[in-house]
């Protein structure tokens, strides 16, 4: 800011304004650091408690034991049943969300009229904002009974129903982000393809989708990360039975559902049973972190390609 020396009263005013600005800046810095410090604090507690856990249970047992029974008399601390539970529900979710999400994105970006796209995009965002507890009860009270009509042997709590509904939950995320990626593929590339005598399908599948691949991959990874971290749906509809199986018809337990189970129970703080949730939480944190980081990296790469 430029100030004339002879303009003294104005200088005072400017100085006061400067103090005001400093104050505001300080407030904003505090707010920003609250977010950063909270995250750091969470990670610190997670690491601290996880370290305490691994002083009692070996990492080897944690990673290889095939049973997870920390709440029973005969304790086993193998995360595999919980990990397969998460893998199973995430896999089922993806098998729905990947094709539907990407096809929806292709339709939105390449086929539907511009006006309809403008109406559908915000609708997708709204869909992404539905509380997941609603999806959870939808799975339990609607999808599972529906599935029972076709698969009578399916249990009341099962991975299939939770996974399918979780897939529906992440469709908006995948569809909307993939649509963004497809939509910004430059018109010049489409024209180049049409000019070679390509049909619309060939242009879309042969040029536009491959050109948007890192953006689509980023959307998928974010969807996977959300599925891995999703808690409500699986806690309500998939069961709380840690079981090393890939059978989608029986009750299972995911990592997130286990954390809910212990947090809601009366397990004493500081006990090894209680510390299990930090160990599981840490594993979950690592898994979602990896997917988020890759998603971010691909999104950046995509943006750099077309800027």
């Amino acid at each position: 800011m430029h100030v004339r020396v002879e303009d003294v009263p104005r200088r005072v005013a400017v100085r006061r304004r400067r103090w005001g600005e400093k104050l505001l800046e300080g407030c904003l810095a505090v707010c920003a650091s609250v977010a950063v410090l909270t995250t750091a604090g969470i990670v610190a507690v997670l690491i601290f408690e996880t370290a305490a856990f691994f002083r009692v249970v070996s990492i080897w047992e944690f990673l290889t034991d095939t049973q997870w029974t920390p709440l029973f008399v005969e304790k086993h601390f193998g995360i595999l049943p919980l990990a397969t539970g998460t893998l199973l529900t995430t896999g089922i979710a993806l098998s729905v969300a990947l094709p539907v999400g990407i096809l929806a994105a292709i339709y939105l970006s390449e086929y539907c009229p511009e006006g309809l796209r403008r109406a559908l995009k915000p609708a997708l965002e709204v869909l992404a904002g539905i509380p997941t507890v609603v999806y959870g009860y939808f799975a339990l009270l609607f999808v599972t009974p529906l599935l029972r009509q076709f698969i009578p042997s399916i249990a009341g709590l099962n991975a299939l129903s939770a996974g399918l509904v979780m897939g529906v939950m992440i469709i908006p995320t995948i569809a909307s982000l993939s649509d963004d990626a497809l939509y910004v593929v430059p018109r010049s590339l489409r024209e180049a393809a049409y000019a070679l005598g390509a049909s619309r399908r060939q242009v879309v599948l042969g040029v536009v989708v491959p050109a948007a691949r890192s953006g689509i991959l980023s959307a998928l990874l974010l969807g996977i990360s959300r599925a891995i971290g999703e808690t409500m749906i699986v806690a309500i509809a998939a069961g709380m039975n840690p079981r090393l199986t890939l059978n989608p018809l029986v009750p299972i337990e995911t990592m997130t559902a286990y954390i809910v189970q212990v947090s809601l129970g009366d397990t004493p703080t500081g006990s090894i049973e209680f510390r299990t949730i930090f160990a599981v939480g840490f594993a979950l944190f690592l898994a979602t972190l990896v997917f988020n980081v890759f998603s971010y990296a691909y999104a950046r790469r995509f943006r750099e390609t077309y800027r």
């Binding site: 010049s188 070679l196 005598g197």
Partner: protein, 266 residues
């Protein structure tokens, strides 16, 4: 030929019918984007295996015109046209557009290689046109014709975007040549290139005219004079003059043409 100019101050266009075989005939072509008329009553014949330059100030409808020749404008919703364009006697607006575009290839102002490897850039066009056998040979032939083979033969699997601007533009030419079109349209293909890359492309076009009918849009008058056999001068959406380049540059018949080529406007 009916060349009514509908009482505009432009006057009667001067259009010479070429005394050699014709590849593309344009008859009474008018184009609108919604209600805006971009071309008015354009008629002339483009001779086979010659280079025809389309010149004129920016916004006069040069791009609009050549994009009609391969039905590229069909992709623009507000586009509407009347008149007739014939390729070797057949009406292109009654043909399948993908067939038209395969026979009439196009190179754009800015090099636009696909974000794929150099090899894939050329192989893709071949594959979608059902030419899957001896891909390797066809890719090499196209790259040789575009005078690019020696520069890229050791890095065919590198991304096309790693090439220089001039190389990318020659790759785009190779990509079009691979599908063996009859006509090659180029819309200001050298406007984003340096003089050396420009000269290479000009030399290439002169080599290519033995096999292809070439139509090149350029706002570089010297370029038109250097490489073209025929030249069409457009102004405000109208064809003003079309004849042999030599004649157009030495004895322009319309005062507008003369003003433009002597650099008094545009």
């Amino acid at each position: 030929m009916n060349l009514a100019t509908q009482g505009t101050p432009v006057g009667e266009p001067y259009v010479v019918e070429p005394s050699e075989p014709v590849a593309v005939e344009v008859q009474a072509l008018s184009v609108w984007y919604r209600s805006f008329q971009a071309l008015a009553d354009v008629s002339f014949s483009i001779p086979r295996h010659r280079i025809t330059a389309v010149i004129g100030p920016s916004g006069c409808g040069k791009s609009t015109f050549i994009r009609c020749l391969n039905r590229m404008n069909d992709l623009i919703p507000e586009f509407r046209m009347t008149g007739d364009i014939r390729l070797e006697g057949a009406r292109i607006y009654e043909m399948d557009p993908t067939e038209v575009r395969r026979r009439v290839g196009m190179v754009f102002q800015k090099p636009n290689p696909f974000p794929k490897s150099i090899w894939e850039n050329i192989a893709w066009g071949l594959r979608i046109n059902g030419r899957r056998h001896d891909l390797a040979e066809s890719v090499e032939r196209a790259l040789r014709r575009a005078a690019l083979w020696d520069e890229v033969k050791d890095k065919l699997h590198m991304p096309a975007t790693s090439l220089s601007g001039g190389q990318q533009q020659r790759l785009c030419i190779a990509r079009v040549l691979a599908v063996e079109p009859e006509v090659l349209l180029l819309d200001e293909p050298t406007s984003s290139l340096d003089p050396i890359a420009t000269a290479r492309i000009e030399d290439l076009l002169i080599e290519l005219k033995d096999r292809y009918t070439i139509v090149i849009v350029t706002h570089n008058i010297q370029q038109a004079a250097r490489i073209s056999d025929y030249a069409a001068f457009f102004y405000l959406g109208r064809l003003i003059e079309f004849q042999k380049t030599e004649d157009l540059f030495t004895r322009p018949r319309c005062s507008m043409t003369e003003a433009y080529i002597t650099g008094r406007f545009g």
